[in-house]
């Protein structure tokens, strides 16, 4: 396995880079339109959540509080609109701002007060999950659900030119603004990470903190920015759940999507474009599983439905193993190259010269 990976690493990568989108495109055009629409809708929070996870991770901070930030975004989006009759865009913006604020608080607690990262994330998740339900009841007298006719969901957009093309119209047009924004954010994050000074600094801090510090990068500032951005993205993902799909807030409505988003980002090796396709993979298998459940076909084995749903998770474990194998393969290759280059000298040293008398 390791040998195989070493030999064909470049070819494999190319095959994946070209083959993956090709297969995706084919499926996109062939699959029934309802499935495609459902898949894209389900993938949107994963795309945004995965971007949130990867920007923090790239800056060297493992952000496990995505779930909490998403839930807060979903909550704030609805609360702002409740009985105010404001435009849903205001709700989305409030969710983004609150997510960013929570990200900032997270950064301050982690970087200034130096709370352990994992504890901080788990405690924040616990706090948000409980506080949203608490305030729902105390401030609005609502038991687990906040819905009101004054809360509107985001309007559906029709893309001018595409909506005229027969096959693409149903598949690409007719989503709300956050769906399109999430695609745009993928591009934005790619540009940010690979084409800007800030992105270079983020990657440098994540790769090697000490080295980045030595060349004069303000590590604290970079990580604070990354965490705030991460919080904003997670807040946006949350507002999609409460204002994009439904127009209400439900108790614990993220239901583990924050954790799945982290998995998506891991699967994609923390690359924005990879995260986009991985999120679509996760979203489509969820849509497929839901679709299979709703066909009402009694002959259909429920095991198949569950397997389709769990497929991405199992694939993620596979991907983690592959990445580990890849790293190990690279190490072995380096060692072999080193031996090939300096093997003779090393052998001479061992034989002839006494090195400390221990070898």
């Amino acid at each position: 396995m390791i040998k195989f990976l070493n030999k064909h690493s470049r070819r494999l990568r190319h095959a994946l880079l070209i083959g993956g989108p090709l297969v995706g495109l084919l499926l996109f055009l062939v699959l029934p339109e309802r499935l495609v629409q459902g898949g894209i809708r389900l993938a949107t929070p994963y795309i945004l959540g995965a971007l949130a996870a990867l920007i923090a991770s790239r800056a060297g901070v493992l952000n496990l509080a995505i779930e909490g930030k998403m839930l807060l975004g979903a909550f704030i989006g609805v609360v702002v609109l409740y009985k105010t009759g404001l435009d849903p865009v205001v709700g989305v913006m409030a969710a983004v701002i609150m997510g960013g604020l929570l990200g900032l608080v997270f950064a301050i607690l982690y970087l200034r007060i130096r709370i352990n990262l994992i504890i901080l994330a788990l405690a924040l998740n616990l706090f948000v999950a409980n506080a949203t339900v608490f305030f729902l009841r105390v401030s609005f007298g609502a038991f687990g659900t906040l819905a009101d006719p004054s809360i509107h969901s985001l309007p559906i957009l029709t893309i001018p030119i595409i909506s005229g093309i027969p096959i693409l119209a149903e598949r690409l047009s007719g989503y709300n603004a956050i769906v399109y924004l999430s695609w745009f954010m993928v591009l934005f994050m790619w540009l940010l990470l690979y084409r800007t000074r800030f992105g270079r600094h983020v990657r440098a801090v994540g790769e090697n903190r000490e080295a980045a510090e030595t060349v004069g990068i303000n590590v604290t500032l970079v990580q604070t920015f990354a965490l705030t951005l991460s919080g904003m993205l997670a807040g946006l993902a949350g507002s999609f759940l409460s204002l994009g799909v439904l127009s209400q807030f439900l108790e614990n409505m993220t239901a583990g999507r924050g954790w799945i988003a982290i998995t998506v980002s891991l699967f994609a090796l923390e690359q924005p474009v990879g995260a986009f396709f991985t999120a679509l993979f996760f979203g489509f298998s969820e849509a497929l599983s839901l679709g299979l459940q709703n066909t009402g076909d009694t002959k259909l084995s429920p095991a198949l439905v569950a397997l389709v749903l769990a497929l991405p998770q199992i694939a993620t474990i596979g991907a983690l193993v592959l990445v580990a194998l890849r790293i190990r393969a690279a190490e072995l290759l380096k060692r072999r190259n080193f031996a090939a280059q300096f093997g003779q000298e090393l052998a001479n040293l061992r034989r002839g010269v006494v090195v400390g008398g221990q070898d």
Binding site: L62, L64, L109, I113, R114, I115, N116, I118, I119, L120, L122, A123, L124, L126, F127, A129, N130, A131, V133, F134, R137, V138, A255, G256, W259, I260, I262, T263, L266, P302, A303, V305, A306, L309, A310, Q313, I314, T316, I317, L320, V321, V323, A324, L325, I327, R328
Partner: protein, 432 residues
């Protein structure tokens, strides 16, 4: 010597106590926001979590005046259990927390940050729930008994002993295997165990959700659930068996589980601090390189730690089902019971005694908050308080450096005579 030890104990308790006070103070702002009186709320909360029936004030947690036939009498609250003591229910909740926290501690002590307790726990629970009815069915089938009630007494007695043991054993095996996957990936391929356990948790939760909804679903109840376990697999609660006439336990389902949990705590303590294997484990966590140079087999210690950790999580799940819930209901997986254990372990700083105290404290807060619902406050207040206490207690470094700074400012250069006492005093000063 003992004085020194006492001082050390006081010093290590100062920060958690300070954190608890701060957590309650900040939560009281939230209580005020809900237009409730914080003092009354907390009295209610603690009474419902730790007090006897009829407890009204903080004082009642210790002593209570009880009306008897010949006038009032002051009793020691802990032993006053007419109509049930809240601690009984709290201990029922604490059982699973203790076991999950022990599981986390074993992994942490080997330097493995595994948070896979959640997945291992639900898998253990579903294993125990399935065997809890399948195994007795099998035995009755083999013995040719169609009416379980008509089974001979001797068989029943043997089954009461054997079936729960088998269920628990199987659950522990399943948990251990699931944890071993993460351990193997870590040791052989250096896959980060934190990341792999997050993914494994998600898989386990989905798998159990599927099992409850499809193959193991027992009836067409709105909320999917498995069949109830057979009476022979049931770990009978104290108030139904051992302490049949004791009112102290009435209303709570605490039973053999808490004894098993305490036993497990003792065994784990002995293992970690009194055996060679445990020493290997702790060294592997202290410094990987040092352990390797000392000739300690690193990989074996890590794998062993993961196996033990998984088995403990499986045990936690099995006890929750066999002793308390008797069936798995949809929503059990995904409730994050394992994560609560991780939090307890972290807050207890991986000390066994600390785990027992923290687990009971958290369980009491959760239990007390449930009964706040009758006082028109959502039970989520308990979770909020716990989250805040965790946050404050993990600010330890911040407190310590700032306290040192304050101390240095208050006292001109002259040498501090009694540093420890000072630390406690300053900690108390910081709270006000």
């Amino acid at each position: 010597m003992t004085a020194k030890r006492l001082r050390q104990a006081l010093e290590s308790a100062a920060i958690p106590i300070l954190a608890t006070i701060l957590g309650l103070l900040v939560s009281s702002v939230i209580v005020l926001f809900a237009r409730a009186d914080p003092m009354q709320t907390y009295e209610h909360l603690f009474c419902e979590g730790f007090g006897p029936k009829g407890c009204q004030t903080f004082g009642n947690l210790l002593f209570m005046d009880v009306k008897t036939d010949n006038g009032t009498q002051t009793v020691f609250s802990l032993f006053y259990g007419a109509q049930g003591h809240a601690l009984g229910v709290t201990l029922e909740r604490a059982t699973i927390l203790i076991l999950a926290a022990l599981s986390a501690t074993v992994a942490f002590k080997a330097g493995l940050f595994s948070i896979g307790m959640d997945g291992q726990l639900v898998l253990g629970a579903i294993t125990a729930a399935f065997l809890g009815y399948a195994l007795p069915d099998l035995i009755y089938g083999l013995a040719g008994i169609s009416q379980p009630q008509a089974a001979p007494g001797a068989l029943q007695t043997v089954m009461h002993l054997v079936v729960p043991a088998l269920c628990i054993g199987a659950a522990m095996l399943v948990g251990a295997f699931y944890s071993w996957i993460a351990g193997y990936l870590k040791v052989k391929l250096n896959v980060n165990e934190l990341i792999s356990t997050i993914v494994l948790n998600a898989i386990a939760v989905q798998l159990v959700g599927y099992l409850i909804n499809f193959p193991l679903r027992s009836d067409f109840n709105n909320i999917a659930r498995t069949r109830r376990i057979d009476d022979t697999a049931w770990l009978v609660p104290f108030n139904r068996g051992l302490f049949l006439n004791s009112e102290w336990f009435s209303g709570s389902r605490v039973g053999i589980g808490i004894i098993l949990a305490l036993l497990a705590a003792l065994v784990i303590w002995f293992f970690l601090w009194r055996t060679t294997a445990g020493y290997e484990q702790r060294m592997a966590s202290g410094s990987r390189l040092f352990a390797r140079f000392g000739g300690i087999p690193n990989e074996r210690a890590a794998l062993r730690a993961m196996l033990i950790s998984g088995a403990l999580s499986g045990l936690a799940g099995a006890i929750q089902i066999l002793g308390v819930e008797r069936r798995v209901v949809d929503g059990f997986a995904g409730a994050g019971l394992g994560f609560d254990g991780v939090l307890v372990a972290i807050l207890a700083k991986e000390s066994i005694g600390g785990i027992l105290v923290v687990a009971v404290f958290f369980a009491g807060l959760q239990q007390g908050a449930i009964n706040l619902q009758f006082a028109n406050l959502p039970r989520q207040l308990g979770g909020i308080i716990i989250a805040l206490i965790i946050l404050f207690s993990s600010m330890e470094n911040f407190f310590r450096t700032n306290l040192a700074r304050i101390q240095a400012r208050l006292r001109p250069p002259q040498r501090a005579v009694d540093a420890a006492a000072e630390g406690v005093a300053a900690a108390g000063g910081g709270a006000t």
